[in-house]
């Protein structure tokens, strides 16, 4: 039980509990909070794996921007506790088994894949920020530019969607 493993288990437990809480909680704010917990836990895992940059970005963008947007919208719309309607029979019936089946498939795939046989991840072996940046700005520069364009489009779309019609 190396300290790393201990940390991993703590964070993993945190993440899973957060995810579960997201499902259990009935108020969107609480779900959002639990999702934030999950994200922070994941950031910790990234740090544990030694990819600090991704961890930081995870918190800054996901935790600091996206989730804030969610919370903001929830506050703006003053969303209440969600009501448990059951219009969709299909979801009621097939939901759980499907999810279980999916999980089973994934687990089986992981178990079968030769990756898991590998020794595993020791922290900070590589992926210092420099390497990522060179890769991002050299090999992946076109996707990078494309994503910037995507963001522009998203901004415009959001503005167009959210603005009230001038009447």
């Amino acid at each position: 039980m190396t300290p790393q493993l201990a940390i991993f288990f703590v964070l993993a437990a945190l993440a899973v509990l957060g995810a579960l809480n997201l499902i259990i909680q009935r108020h969107p704010i609480h779900s959002a909070l639990s999702l934030i917990v999950v994200m922070i836990a994941l950031a910790g895992l990234y740090l544990l794996m030694g990819s600090e940059f991704v961890a930081a970005v995870q918190i800054i963008v996901y935790g600091g921007a996206i989730m804030v947007l969610f919370v903001f919208v929830i506050m703006l719309l003053n969303a209440g506790v969600e009501e448990r309607t059951n219009v969709s029979k299909l979801a009621g019936v097939a939901g759980i088994p499907l999810a279980v089946a999916l999980l089973g498939f994934l687990a089986a795939a992981i178990a079968r894949s030769n990756e898991s046989a590998q020794a595993g991840v020791e922290a900070g072996t590589l992926a210092n920020t420099k390497e990522i940046s060179t890769m991002l700005f050299k090999d992946f520069v076109y996707p990078f530019e494309l994503t910037s364009f995507l963001i522009l489009v998203a901004i415009l779309g959001a503005i167009v969607l959210a603005q009230r019609e001038k009447s």
Partner: protein, 100 residues
């Protein structure tokens, strides 16, 4: 010294939970969040692989995923605001007219 498979299984579990939330939540915002959860699970798998194989491109891809998630959140929340405005409800089961 954590085996990669642990990370993978964790990401699988998170993904499954995301799917469950995706199917079982009624509040559109929460559904959106469950999508984010699934994306996060995938990111975890990406980083795990990239660390296990000592290739950074997995992490680069994670960055891309995050960017896309941000854009998606922007647009999606805009849609949600519009929906709340026009329907006075965030419950997806109350919004099934397929038309405005």
């Amino acid at each position: 010294m954590v085996p990669t498979s642990y990370y993978l299984i964790l990401s699988a579990v998170l993904f499954g939970l995301g799917v469950v939330a995706f199917v079982f939540k009624r509040n559109v915002i929460t559904i959106f969040m469950s999508i984010e959860l699934m994306l996060n699970a995938v990111n975890l798998a990406f980083v795990a692989f990239s660390q296990a194989r000592h290739q950074s491109d997995g992490q680069v891809f994670v960055l891309f995923v995050i960017v896309v998630a941000a854009a998606e959140a922007a647009v999606g929340l805009g849609i949600i605001i519009l929906m709340a405005r026009n329907r006075q409800s965030l419950n997806v089961e109350r919004v099934d007219f397929l038309k405005l």
